[in-house]
């Protein structure tokens, strides 16, 4: 297989504002090309758009707006992990030799139809994600003896880290008390435990080794990919306190990259809700079952940005189709040592964890220089 690297990226600030999907797609790709004026757009073989938006034919639309005529152009939708799934598709096009350079652009509006999986009738009238998040939270707290106050620390940490991210929707810091006193959505979930749907877009350009070396001295290689779908319906989850698909995807990605989890210097994990962060940390293997919150506390107490340096989904916002791409850009910046105030020490190998619909599917990427 050919090596595949990320050679450029573009992003726009995440917001609650009302913008057309085509407009924000164009803005993040424009940011990419403005920051990389040496790239010849005509060499792009494929344009993949990651979104849950109902607008049609967005890849050809974006291609036309960019003034290019790629061989391959289509959209990819997979709820919240559309972004990393699009990156994996781009990787596949390049590693198979079907393309040398692929633009992946993700975008979502604050009112995305991807927020609720209408098909999942086994959830009864409780289809909104806050209900599966509440069940996960209750089950995790019950199994490991974790309190609401302990879980609230995820939100506190990630809002603190988001404050250093100019593209994050959150500009505030919060205390544990603030989280606990925020609007009670259910017995097991407060408003500040939740990531916020928002408008946002992020883009990356992937290239073959030969093409990457033509355009940059610092490509970031995708060395590990793991994906797993266990079901579509939330109620099919065998465990309510761990993420089975994440466990399998994480193992696959680490194996492919010839790394163990102890080699990972920095990671973005899918904290759609507070409880998702310790569950993801445990499922990927960063720590043992039930010890995720101890890890979060230690990171927070030592101001260590190793996990979710950009502020996670909770601090940055969650424009579904753009989220996985935004997470990937953060890890690229961390490895390139261009993450500014969020920069972590010795970030040489990074991991991205992006999941959908109560962890019924997960994608994990390993990136390195």
């Amino acid at each position: 297989m050919q090596k595949v690297g990320i050679i450029a990226h573009g992003i726009i600030p995440f917001t609650k504002e009302d913008h057309k999907i085509e407009s924000i797609l164009h803005k993040s790709t424009n940011d990419l090309f403005q920051k990389n004026t040496n790239i010849d757009k005509k060499e792009i073989d494929a344009v993949l758009v990651s979104t849950n938006n109902n607008s049609k034919y967005l890849s050809p639309v974006l291609s036309e707006m960019l003034g290019i005529q790629p061989k391959i152009a289509h959209s990819i939708e997979s709820l919240c992990n559309s972004g990393t799934n699009s990156i994996v598709s781009a990787y596949s096009y390049i590693s198979s030799g079907l393309a040398d350079m692929v633009l992946v652009s993700g975008a979502e509006r604050y009112d995305s139809p991807g927020q609720i999986l209408e098909w999942d009738n086994s959830r009864g009238e409780f289809k909104h994600p806050i209900f599966w998040a509440s069940i996960f939270s209750k089950s995790y707290k019950r199994k490991f003896g974790i309190s609401d106050e302990q879980l609230a620390l995820v939100s506190v940490k990630n809002h603190k880290q988001a404050k250093e991210n100019p593209n994050a929707i959150s500009k505030k810091t919060y205390t544990v008390k603030d989280v606990i006193n925020s609007k009670k959505l259910t017995d097991d979930l407060r408003l500040l435990d939740c990531s916020r749907p928002c408008t946002g877009s992020a883009s990356v350009l992937l290239a073959s080794e030969e093409m990457a070396k033509k355009y940059t001295d610092m490509p970031i290689w995708i060395t590990g990919i793991g994906q797993k779908t266990t079901s579509a319906g939330f109620t099919k989850n065998t465990s309510l306190s761990s993420m089975e698909s994440t466990k399998i995807a994480g193992q696959s990605a680490l194996k492919m990259s010839n790394h163990t989890v102890s080699d990972i210097d920095v990671a973005e994990v899918h904290d759609a809700f507070s409880v998702c962060e310790p569950m993801a940390l445990e499922s990927i293997g960063f720590t043992n079952p039930g010890k995720g919150m101890s890890m979060v506390k230690e990171l927070h107490d030592t101001n260590n940005f190793k996990i979710n340096p950009r502020g996670g989904l909770i601090g940055t916002g969650h424009p579904l189709g753009a989220t996985g791409i935004s997470q990937t850009i953060e890890i690229v910046q961390q490895i390139q040592k261009t993450a500014g105030n969020r920069q972590t020490d010795n970030a040489n190998v990074g991991l991205v964890h992006n999941m959908s619909a109560a962890s019924t599917s997960s994608t994990v990427l390993v990136l390195e220089r």
Binding site: S122, G124, E125, R142, L189, F234
Partner: protein
């Protein structure tokens, strides 16, 4: 007679494969094991509360039937984990299933 037709009449039934007898959930015309056709088992089924939480006055509970069907149902009284329950009310409103347990 489909699961949804029965559900819209307020009757909860269990789809089972005519060939291999596997219970199929979510309901489907075909078995995900042997691709055979399914039929509906009718009756009063007992389920077990796996987990629950509460929004305002109402509890929402994940309930398991026959070790294979799991759904989320409303409960108006205080639930307990592993409590045995029955579906007291069900149907379809605005395209969404709803289930209530006692």
């Amino acid at each position: 007679m489909s699961f949804e037709t029965e559900l819209s009449k307020g009757k909860f039934s269990i789809p089972e494969c005519l060939t291999c007898k596997k219970i199929i959930w979510p309901p489907s015309e075909f078995c995900d094991n042997c691709n055979g056709e399914t039929s509906l088992k009718k009756g009063e089924f007992e389920g077990k509360i796996i987990e629950f939480s509460r929004q305002d006055k109402n509890y929402f509970c994940m309930v398991e039937f026959f070790d294979s069907i799991r759904l989320i149902a409303k409960m108006t009284t205080n639930p307990k984990k592993d409590q045995i329950v029955k579906i007291s009310k069900c149907g379809i409103t605005n395209g969404n299933y709803f289930f209530e347990i006692i």
